[in-house]
């Protein structure tokens, strides 16, 4: 048992913090929210240069061979700073390619991702908005050595700028009837429309009208798609929770600083117990969330993921984030309610992070199942 980060991990964290502080100040975050693309291509290139985009890939695919826990630490910094763009969506596709792709697919796609030449996103959920195999209605019919995909996906992050989509489509009945396809985002029949969201984070509706996909673009086995979805959900949920956890830390820190600085009744408001205890609760919950994230990530890193531990984190993270943001706004008073203040940037991301990779209720239910209920 060891709670200490390795030297390399400390370095990754501090480099990431410095880079993001410098390259992506809150003015930049606001600019990218208003931007049509929602990301900064130059920054993306520099991130590739830092080795972030292929962090967990083996060296022969242009990566640095880091662990999943390292990736989690990076996501934590991304959440802490807020970095608009396709880092998460690309990672959620790269991980299953690494795990389920054959040699040809891996050699074709991973080096591209690592050098920043491809942007990926996962097109999974549909109009019902849930993460169940039964809710996948997009169909893929085979004929003439290719599949034809028809259907509509919702809340697909960054599809407006994606070069590739990883999509779940129905090739048969039930859980065994789902197959994952790699789709060139510029294929004929793919239409993308950005959904206006409160996080202004470029989630999209993607419509597939008779989109032709070569047979070779199936990831894993035909009918084996839901296993891949589960693989993605477990890992992407932890990445998302790491991002949430970073966001929580930023919110607690800015609020703590404000409580020491802001004077009312001739005293810093942080000296009042109504404020102090609220801050303590925020801080303790966020710290607990951080350990939950690290534990689940470490278990994935060493090859023994725990369904229970993964589910617990995702069931807890958004609750903690929401409460931390609400408390932070309350402690900041009217200032925290303004467009100019940073706390609102975080609060507006709470729901997006909850619904990414399954909401609190879905993961609570998974916890219940793991408990034996």
């Amino acid at each position: 048992m060891d709670f200490k980060l390795s030297e390399d991990q400390e370095m990754l964290r501090s480099l990431a913090r410095d880079f993001l502080t410098k390259e992506c100040p809150k003015a930049k975050v606001r600019e990218l929210e208003a931007d049509e693309k929602g990301y900064d291509p130059q920054m993306w290139e520099r991130m590739a240069g830092l080795g972030w985009l292929g962090l967990v890939f083996p060296e022969n695919y242009g990566g640095t061979g880091a662990t999943f826990l390292d990736l989690v630490l990076l996501m934590e910094e991304i959440g802490r700073n807020i970095l608009p763009g396709p880092f998460f969506s690309t990672a959620t596709c790269a991980l299953p390619i690494l795990e389920y792709g054959d040699e040809e697919l891996k050699a074709k796609f991973l080096p591209q991702i690592a050098k920043g030449a491809a942007i990926w996103t996962l097109a999974l959920i549909e109009t019902l908005g849930g993460y169940e195999a039964s809710e996948i209605r997009t169909s893929a019919r085979i004929g003439d050595g290719q599949y034809v995909i028809e259907g509509t996906k919702l809340f697909v992050p960054n599809a407006n700028i994606a070069s590739h989509l990883l999509i779940a489509a129905q090739t048969g009945e039930g859980d065994k009837g789902i197959t994952m396809f790699i789709v060139d985002a510029h294929s004929l029949g793919v239409e993308v429309e950005v959904i206006p969201t409160i996080a202004e984070d470029k989630q999209c509706q993607v419509t597939f009208t008779k989109v032709k996909v070569p047979e070779g673009n199936v990831l894993g086995n035909v009918g084996g798609g839901w296993d891949i979805v589960e693989f993605i959900l477990d890992r992407a949920a932890i990445l998302k929770c790491a991002e949430v956890c970073g966001g929580c830390q930023a919110v607690v820190e800015m609020t703590n600083a404000y409580a020491k600085d802001r004077v009312q009744f001739d005293k810093p408001i942080g000296s009042f117990q109504a404020i102090q205890h609220r801050l303590v609760d925020m801080f303790v919950n966020v710290e607990g969330l951080q350990y939950l994230v690290y534990q689940a990530a470490w278990e994935i890193s060493v090859g023994s993921p725990s369904k229970l531990h993964i589910s617990l984190v995702k069931a807890k993270a958004s609750e903690v984030y929401q409460q931390a943001c609400l408390d932070a706004i309350r402690i900041h008073g009217a200032t925290g309610f303004t467009k100019e203040h940073d706390v609102g940037l975080y609060f507006r991301r709470v729901k997006a992070s909850e619904f990414a990779m399954g909401d609190t209720d879905l993961w609570r239910e998974r916890v219940a199942v793991e408990l034996g209920l």
């Binding site: 048992m1 060891d2 709670f3 200490k4 980060l5 390795s6 991990q9 826990l69 703590n256 409580a259 020491k260 005293k267 810093p268 942080g270 000296s271 009042f272 117990q273 102090q276 205890h277 801050l279 303590v280 609760d281 801080f283 303790v284 919950n285 710290e287 607990g288 969330l289 350990y291 939950l292 690290y294 534990q295 470490w298 278990e299 229970l308 531990h309 617990l312 984190v313 069931a315 807890k316 209720d361 609570r364 239910e365 916890v367 219940a368 408990l371 034996g372 209920l373």
Partner: protein, 401 residues
Amino acid sequence: MDFKLGEKEGVLRRAIREFAQKEIPSEHFCLLLEEESRDEDWELAMSTSKKLAQKGWLVMAWPKEYGGRAASYWEQMVYGEECGYWGIPGISMGISGVAWVGPSLMQFGNEEQRKKYLPVIASGEPDGVWCTGYSEPNAGSDFANIQTRAIRDGDEYVINGQKVWTSCAHRARWCWLAVKTDPNAPKKHHGISIFIVDMKSPGITVNPLLNYYGVHIFNEVFFDNVRVSASNLVGEENKGWYHLMQSLASERHSIGPALYGSVRRLLEELVDYAKETQHDGKPLCQNPVVRHMLADAAAEAEMLKLFNYQTTWELTQGIIPIYGSSRNKAFGDQLLERISIIGMKLMGAYSQVDPYSKWTKLHGIIQRLYLLFPGISIAAGTDEIEKNVIGQFKLGLPKSY
């Protein structure tokens, strides 16, 4: 970073499990800190503490010369978890001696005191049972406000005053007593000292204070010209406050792992109960509200586990976990409260049944816990005081009072 416990801890865990299955009645499955109340519970606690001593577990952290076996912090943590899980009584003999008197004597007692008192605690015998005299009618959270006085008289001190909420005083052979030795000190926490007092001394009166359910945990203790030898002063005169702050950190830390063990067992029992119990024509476990409540509690239990791990890890790094101890206690208290309330909800109408009656479910543990947790979250520092500690020492906020 590494989230796996070692093989040594695994061996210990299995050994305790084996011991518990053999020695502990099956209706014990949660550590209820009220064993000093009923005579039969106390008898079981004391006979178990002797067995724990023989196993070398009771004070496993202590050096061999004082009856321990120099166990690692991780072993201590596992021991705490398992004792909580199995509800092993007697692990603390009324808590004071094992949990903080011993560690404090090792930190700032003298050699003579260590030799005299530590082996007796380590033996698990009734003469090793201690109580702690901190709170007074006008000194609760504002502990430095104590007024019980010790005045030097030759080779002795003469003690006068009153303590209150003194847990286990009616079972204890010794009292770990905080008194004022310099009432004129410029700051009120500068004039405090600690004494070891024999509870059989003339001039001591112990009056029971029953809780709202008639459970006898604490007492009021009166000191009327009680004479103690000057050699019973622990540490430096007037430095008691600083000694006690360290002592309290040990006390708070010792509670976390056992609390987690209890919580984990309670969750398991409640899951089984929900599966076996029909409500409105279907198993309780199919009720989404029940599923969600238990899932949320499980997430918090996992947080408590990791908090304990983190604090224990700090100890292995030579860090005194002042913040962590307060965090774990306050968080654990809130979790216990939550689980008690969930448990009572699951019991439905049976939640109102006397825990010892034939109508009770799950051996009455849930009701007993429900009746007990408000007290637990006050003992050893209220949650509000713990949050003050965290606010000041971890968040660097100005003192709030």
